[in-house]
């Protein structure tokens, strides 16, 4: 099902249904190729040489490169299918130490609905994509997922470590942390006024 952005209600924040592709109203490449073709044919009829416009066009030899007129970057299309996955278990982890071949982390079992760290684990670097290994530093937060996925009818087990790009602290989180620190301070020293607040 395709989404027509030109006919979309102004107040609708419902997402397009999963699996939708480029919105129909946004296919400017189609218009560009049509216009280019028309211009090219017009030039041919008027006897205009196309030699000056050939350049590095990917449209093929002899075709004018007019795509730049529309500031459109045309790239080869890469098909990417999303396989069906069944999630068996999900943890949120925080990296504690990074070794030569492994890293240790404390885990919160999200599948069990826990909210605090109850498990500790050593995981091999091999479970992390090569280009993500630089992100594995003490304190880094990641999600660890174990599940099944179906690819071309084959069922296979997978494990995925996704390192989160955590947003900066929000004002609300700073307020909440300050409140919690006040409570701890009060428990330790019996007064809450002497502590310097963060933020």
């Amino acid at each position: 099902m395709e989404l027509d952005i030109n006919n979309r209600p102004a107040v609708e924040t419902s997402a397009s249904k999963l699996g939708s592709t480029v919105p129909r109203g946004a296919r400017t490449l189609f218009n560009v190729s049509r216009v280019n073709k028309r211009r090219y044919e017009g030039d041919q009829n008027r006897g205009v040489s196309t030699a000056q416009t050939e350049g590095n066009s990917q449209d093929g030899p002899g075709q004018p490169n007019l795509v730049q007129d529309f500031q459109v970057v045309q790239l080869p299309r890469i098909d990417r299918r999303v396989s069906r996955e069944i999630k068996l278990q999900e943890w949120e982890g925080q990296v504690q130490e990074v070794g030569t071949f492994n890293f240790s982390a404390r885990l919160v079992d999200l599948t069990a609905g826990e909210t605090s760290e109850t498990e500790e684990v050593d995981l091999p670097f091999d479970d992390v994509a090569e280009s993500d290994r630089a992100l594995l530093i003490p304190g880094a937060v990641f999600r660890w997922i174990v599940g099944y996925r179906y690819i071309d009818g084959q069922k296979e087990r997978f494990t995925r470590i996704a390192i989160r790009r955590l947003p900066m602290w929000t004002d609300q989180e700073i307020l909440s942390a300050n409140k919690e620190a006040d409570q701890r301070y009060e428990q330790l020293f019996g007064v809450s006024s002497g502590r310097a607040a963060a933020g």
């Binding site: 979309r8 400017t28 069944i86 994509a129």
Partner: protein
């Protein structure tokens, strides 16, 4: 969820005024919003002053002049939230009029009878018999059903938590041919930010999404699970 979904995803959609060309992969990398294997796996569909769309290994980012949308189609779905919040923390002055968090699931049922049980429970066909039955046989059924939580407050729709907006749950037979006797459930948790200039900038919306995400996804999955319960009869 008691039935493993065939297709599952989350998205965050913001309506406002955007400059699509800001959301290029190189900007996202500069700000350390998309890095590592996510950046390496980007597949660009289009980059144009009016629309930017590219696929990440786990989802899809689409921005046009009045709409920003990030969809996660692979676990962990929280990556959509991280990307959205971080983007608008870097763009705190962006005018945003509304934001919606969406959870979508296509799940299979065993057979037509099991799927019809959901439709017949949510929208009994007795009233519609002349329309959806012919000579005692089934000749139609529920195509789409949307239930909405909203009250009227100051002439606008508001939610029970006091914020302007609504929560919608939509149920349809799945149109995805890979989901046998499938059911599609879509929960839209919508916040209307118009009418208050203070509440309509990127920073406020980023904080709103960061604060509400977990609860929104949990509630949405609760609704999906209730529909699955109807289908499975357990």
């Amino acid at each position: 969820m008691r039935i493993p979904p065939q297709v599952s995803g989350c998205s965050i959609v913001a309506l406002g005024h955007f400059n699509p060309l800001i959301f290029r992969p190189d900007w996202l990398q500069d700000k350390e919003i998309v890095v590592g294997s996510d950046f390496d796996g980007i597949a660009i569909d289009i980059i144009h002053p009016d629309i930017v769309q590219f696929r990440l290994p786990w989802g899809l980012l689409q921005v046009d002049r009045d709409r920003f949308s990030i969809t996660a189609m692979q676990e962990p779905l929280v990556r959509a939230c991280d990307l959205f919040v971080k983007c608008f923390q870097y763009l705190p002055e962006t005018p945003i009029m509304a934001v919606g968090m969406n959870r979508e699931v296509h799940f299979p049922t065993q057979d037509e009878m099991q799927r019809d049980r959901v439709g017949n429970t949510l929208a009994p066909t007795q009233f519609w018999r002349d329309l959806v039955e012919s000579e005692g046989r089934k000749a139609g059924g529920l195509r789409t059903l949307t239930m909405e939580q909203s009250l009227i407050k100051e002439g606008r729709r508001a939610r029970v938590d006091g914020a302007f907006g609504w929560i919608q749950v939509k149920i349809e037979p799945s149109v995805n041919s890979s989901v046998p006797f499938g059911i599609y459930v879509h929960v839209n948790d919508h916040f209307d930010l118009t009418g208050s200039s203070k509440n309509s900038n990127g920073k406020i919306v980023a904080e709103l999404v960061a604060a509400k995400w977990d609860a929104t996804v949990r509630a949405a999955e609760g609704w999906v699970d209730r529909v699955m319960e109807l289908a499975s009869g357990t």
